[in-house]
């Protein structure tokens, strides 16, 4: 992670020699063995291409990257070659601007244009289109073709992706990404010749978790971002900021785009070690709760004008002053917000916002992490043997699942290397590799979308998984594993895994917390602590900033249960960006009723904010600066794409403001984020010094707005003729304007970019201009700051560990019922997004056919789960043998609002009334989602006319 560390040997030829190639007469040093296109782009040449992709290699299909190769310095004619299919060799003579090659490139575009419609003005890709850029670059400025153009019917591909096949230039990148790279199997190239069609077999929702990448992979406007298109702005009118995805613990880097006060879209922001060129659909589309009706935009419970002064807040809150103040932190709040809260209330009064159970899990994760540094996503891709333990990665940390899928290709790459095939020769490597795969053992209780590349993927009972892990720990002892009920052949599986591990150079174990199976995690911990040094372990915690929160936990930190058990009659409880959905509804009410005052600081409404005495509006990640800590312990800053409208403030700022009333007055003189960070670094050993992350960059700002940002002086003209001052940002390396310091600072050091753009390169492909080389690191200074590993332990809950029941699973008639993990139905925040509601599975209970009898009469279609408090959930009963015997998976929207599974007391066959009600509810739900969607859209469009004039006070 250190800057001085050399680039990972991720792409071809780690130790490749630099050789001299003459390009248009100029000698240039290129890496031997790279393909010429990649090597020339690494040297920042402008060479057009379509079918090549840095992560997917060359297939030589589009003929766009033609250059001339000469035999020697004297030769005049030379031959036309495809740069992407030609390996770099010493002493090559290449003509890039040689007339015949340039003409050839222009004619390739001309041929594409015979079918490409002239609809750029209405196309969502316009202004950020690789095809436009390449057309301009080759100089093809006149259309001479008069004939008919080929036309297609488009498909409905679900609520996320638009399809406009007429624009297709047949580069095949969509199919190569969707099918070959991401393993989707509901997408293909159909037809032949001039009639090639890319799409599904029939209309329907794209099944892959990575379908959104088609938007960026497609060089033109065939696949576009549907929600973005519905409320559209050209890229040149988007104000952007670098950000970090809040969807899971991987912490993919994203760039967020805003216009007229609403957030419009998210695109991938290249990070060499983490997301590379791709993010999952939750990351791309899971931001829009920041635009929802459910946003909290004013304070509730107190009288507060929008332009309040700190002392006015203190006066308004004075009546809530109480003897004791407790703060509840959150996994989704920023690192700074959690730390500020902890320092405000004092560590004795700080509750992590985690349940006992989550504490136990976290304790294990930190113990493993202190022994084994988790590998980056890039390093995961290098593993030659992966064992996934009881976690459906495709649903809980989809980007990691994509990396695991790539890792299974390592055996094929090795084979290709033996045959002398360069790694970038995509088609040849795939032909040579065929079914040759690196080992991937999926020890899971339900099949997943990685099964197709797995060595072993049969569903196993959790108890069997634990047995296997214990067996792996006893490397030297004879195998004493006995077959479990339902799971035959465990011993041979154990042997198979052991053999695979012996031969592996970089074996990797991946586990997570979504299965709620503490015993499994304990078994992994034991294995990790005694594992050989080259075994790697990656643990995936629940949420975006779990590791940041974890590093703040000390011996005083309380769990939620410990806080609730306290007498809170004289106390104020401050909840930081947390809906407490891990508690049952009864526990949520208990907390609200018990505490003298409940203050909720949050950006979206929840059941808890309804119960609170005071609600203070906080800024979501799109409106506040902060940082989050990913599963590797890497601290990643994110930046506001727009300033919040008062009285909305970042949560850490609320903590500073509340300090005088509810805190210990330690934070009295702090008003800015950098002051807060400096204070925390000085006073909290667990908070890293982040000054080097930002200090120098603050002087040389990059612009958040592109150079063509239109309407800067006229945007507010319908409200006031006075041009408002643009918001000042003293706390980040970015300005809320078109003005920036340029590309480099005074020392020639590259500056970070708020969005990816380069002259002549308007699309996201422009990122190569800012990489050290293709597929390498970004060229701007990127300090890698990590949180301290290892942990103080809270002994109080440590002792309670043994007798705490697992609240996240339900045992019923010998059946272990778990919550179903699903990318679009994983948390309460993103559940509120209309598109995600459509993509979520129907309420259901998945069981093995052999277990069906334990729940209901055979051929029952629905079951009803009855809770302690006599509420009930009717769900569809789905039987399939992709679920291990003895386990079942439950999905119901309620489970993300509160811990409903803990209260289920009985499961019965659903009555016909229940079924009718459930189906009625389902159709109503569908209708209400569609209404929500159109309502939200018209509200946002209306708001575009009344842009809030962003008055930026000192508060940012």
């Amino acid at each position: 992670m250190d800057k001085s560390q050399p680039d990972n040997p991720d792409t071809s030829n780690p130790a490749a020699a630099q050789v001299t190639v003459h390009i248009d007469g100029e000698p240039v040093k290129l890496r031997q063995g790279d393909n010429l296109l990649e090597a020339m782009l690494s040297e920042k040449y402008n060479l057009p291409y379509f079918c090549w992709h840095p992560a997917m290699g060359s297939i030589g299909a589009c003929r766009q990257c033609a250059v001339t190769q000469f035999a020697d310095q004297e030769q005049q004619k030379g031959k036309t070659i495809m740069a992407c299919m030609t390996p770099v060799s010493d002493g090559m003579y290449i003509g890039l601007n040689h007339q015949p090659a340039a003409e050839f490139r222009e004619q390739v575009i001309a041929a594409m244009m015979t079918n490409h419609p002239h609809d750029c003005p209405v196309c969502g890709e316009g202004g950020a289109c690789h095809l436009q850029d390449m057309t301009v670059m080759t100089g093809h400025s006149m259309r001479r073709y008069q004939g008919q153009k080929r036309t297609f019917s488009n498909q409905y591909l679900g609520p996320l992706i638009n399809h406009e096949m007429n624009r297709c230039i047949t580069c095949y990148r969509c199919e190569r990404f969707y099918k070959d790279y991401a393993g989707g199997n509901d997408f293909s190239a159909c037809g032949s010749k001039n009639q090639v069609y890319f799409g599904r077999q029939q209309d329907g929702i794209l099944e892959s978790e990575f379908s959104g990448n088609l938007v960026e992979v497609c060089p033109t406007g065939v696949f576009t971002d549907k929600p973005f298109s519905a409320h559209y702005t050209r890229k040149w009118d988007l104000q952007s900021a670098p950000s970090v995805c809040q969807g899971c613990a991987v912490g993919c880097n994203i760039s967020v785009g805003e216009r007229y006060g609403s957030v419009r879209r998210v695109v991938n922001r290249y990070h060499h070690d983490i997301n590379g060129y791709f993010i999952c659909d939750k990351g791309r589309f899971g931001f829009s709760y920041v635009n929802n009706d459910s946003r909290i935009e004013t304070a509730r419970g107190i009288e507060l004008s929008s332009e309040f002064k700190p002392h006015q807040l203190a006066i308004a809150l004075a009546r809530y002053k109480s003897a004791d103040n407790f703060g509840i932190g959150s996994e989704r709040a920023s690192f700074e917000s959690n730390a500020a809260l902890k320092h405000m209330v004092g560590s004795e009064n700080f509750c992590s916002g985690l349940t006992d159970y989550q504490h136990f899990c976290l304790d294990i994760i930190r113990s493993v992490m202190s022994a084994k540094q988790p590998p980056s996503v890039n390093e995961i891709e290098q593993s030659d043997c992966i064992i996934v333990i009881d976690e459906d990665l495709t649903q809980s940390a989809a980007r990691i699942a994509l990396a695991v899928r790539q890792a299974t290709r390592n055996a094929a790459f090795d084979k290709a290397e033996q045959l002398g095939i360069p790694r970038w020769q995509d088609a040849a490597v795939r032909t040579a590799g065929q079914a040759c795969r690196s080992n991937l053992f999926l020890l899971q209780s339900k099949s997943s979308k990685l099964d197709d590349v797995a060595t072993y993927a049969e569903p196993l009972h959790p108890a069997a998984i634990i047995k296997l892990l214990q067996g792996l720990g006893n490397a030297n002892q004879p195998d004493s594993i006995s077959d479990m009920p339902f799971d035959n052949g465990l011993a041979s599986l154990l042997q198979e895994i052991k053999t695979a591990l012996q031969h592996a150079k970089r074996p990797l174990f991946i586990a997570g917390c979504s299965a709620w199976q503490l015993e499994t995690l304990q078994a992994v911990e034991q294995l990790a602590l005694q594992a050989p040094p080259h075994w790697q372990f990656a643990f995936l915690p629940d949420a975006v900033n779990t590791m940041g929160l974890a590093s703040l936990i000390d011996q005083h930190t309380m769990s939620l249960e410990q806080l609730i058990a306290k007498s809170l009659q004289q106390s104020t409880v401050i909840v930081l960006e947390h809906s407490l959905s891990t508690l049952t509804r009864a526990q949520q009410y208990q907390l609200a009723e018990q505490s003298q005052t409940l203050i909720v600081i949050d950006h979206n409404q929840s059941l808890l904010s309804e119960l609170a005495d005071v609600v203070l509006p906080s800024a979501p990640f799109t409106e506040s600066d902060g940082s989050s800590v990913n599963y590797m312990g890497l601290v990643q800053p994110f930046f506001a794409v727009k300033p919040p409208n008062s009285p909305i403030h970042p949560a850490w700022h609320w903590c500073l403001l509340l300090d005088s009333t509810f805190g210990r007055q330690n934070l009295a003189n702090i008003t800015t984020l950098s002051q807060l960070r400096a204070y925390l670094a000085e006073h909290d050993s667990s908070f890293p010094d982040m000054s080097r992350l930002l200090a120098e960059q603050l002087l040389f700002k990059s612009a958040r707005q592109p150079m063509r940002y239109s309407g800067r002086t006229a945007m507010f003209a319908n409200q006031t003729v006075h041009e408002p001052k643009s918001p000042q940002d003293t706390e980040s390396p970015f300005s809320f304007s078109m003005e920036g310091a340029g590309r480099t600072d005074v020392q020639g050091q590259a500056l970070p970019k708020a969005f990816s753009w380069a002259p002549g390169w308007n699309s996201e492909q422009s990122v190569y201009k800012y990489q050290t080389r293709i597929g390498g690191r970004m060229n701007h200074r990127a300090e890698a700051i990590t949180v301290a590993r290892g942990a103080d332990k809270n002994l109080a809950w440590q002792q309670r560990k043994s007798d705490t029941a697992n609240p996240g699973v339900l045992s019923f008639n010998g059946l272990l019922i778990r919550r179903l993990s699903h990318l679009f139905a994983n948390d309460a925040l993103t559940d509120d997004i209309a598109e995600f509601k459509l993509l979520a599975p129907v309420a259901c209970l998945l069981v093995n056919p052999a277990d069906e009898a334990n729940l209901a009469a055979t051929s029952a279609t629905h079951v009803t789960l009855i809770s302690d408090d006599k509420t009930s959930m009717t769900v569809r009963l789905i039987t399939c043998d992709d679920v291990a015997r003895g386990t079942a998976y439950l999905h119901h929207p309620l489970l993300n609002l509160h811990n409903a599974i803990a209260q289920v007391s009985d499961i019965v066959q659903a009555s016909s009334d229940d079924i009718a009600r459930q189906q009625q509810g389902q159709s109503e739900q569908l209708q209400s989602i569609l209404n929500q969607k159109s309502r939200a859209l018209s509200r946002l469009q209306k708001r575009d006319q009344q842009i809030p004039i962003q008055i930026v006070g000192e508060g940012r």
Partner: protein, 190 residues
Amino acid sequence: MSLATNLPRVGEGNINLVQLSYRDYLSVEEINAIEHEVAILGQRQAAGIEAMKLVQKNRGWISDDCLYAVADLLQMPASQLEGIATFYNLIYRQPVGRYVIHLCDSISCHLTGFAQVSEAIKEYLGIDYGETTSDGMFTLLTNACLGSCDKAPAMMIGEDHFEHLTPQSATDILRQLCAENDKDELNLRE
């Protein structure tokens, strides 16, 4: 793809969970014939083309249900099989007539009178390319090259090639096929 990894979604409404099984759709003879091809080829998916040819021989064309059934039997995604079906011009994804005319429209045929032959056939049958006569006898398609450039113009009907075509000879062939068909039907009735 298994049910557990591809659950019905809220946005799809109250859809039925029944999945098409090849056993409900293909005959035992078809299944056996396809399995025979699989045995020869080793990999199940490799039998895609042969399987569709076999089914098409019995049923005239590959309907969506045929496609799903064959994909199910070969344990491959329907989209992938669709890619194969639409790539090859001898797999028909729409109903076709009893005789499918593949009239070669490559350059040699163009030089030797394709246009006149094409006009004569269209006029005789009263249909354009991609259409089927109302009596269900003929479907007219073009073909990129039949490999008969030395004997152009050429066309293919079923497994027969017809070369050195003229407007007269082409229509004669069609007339003859009609007559044979009538005779067949007569025989069948008797």
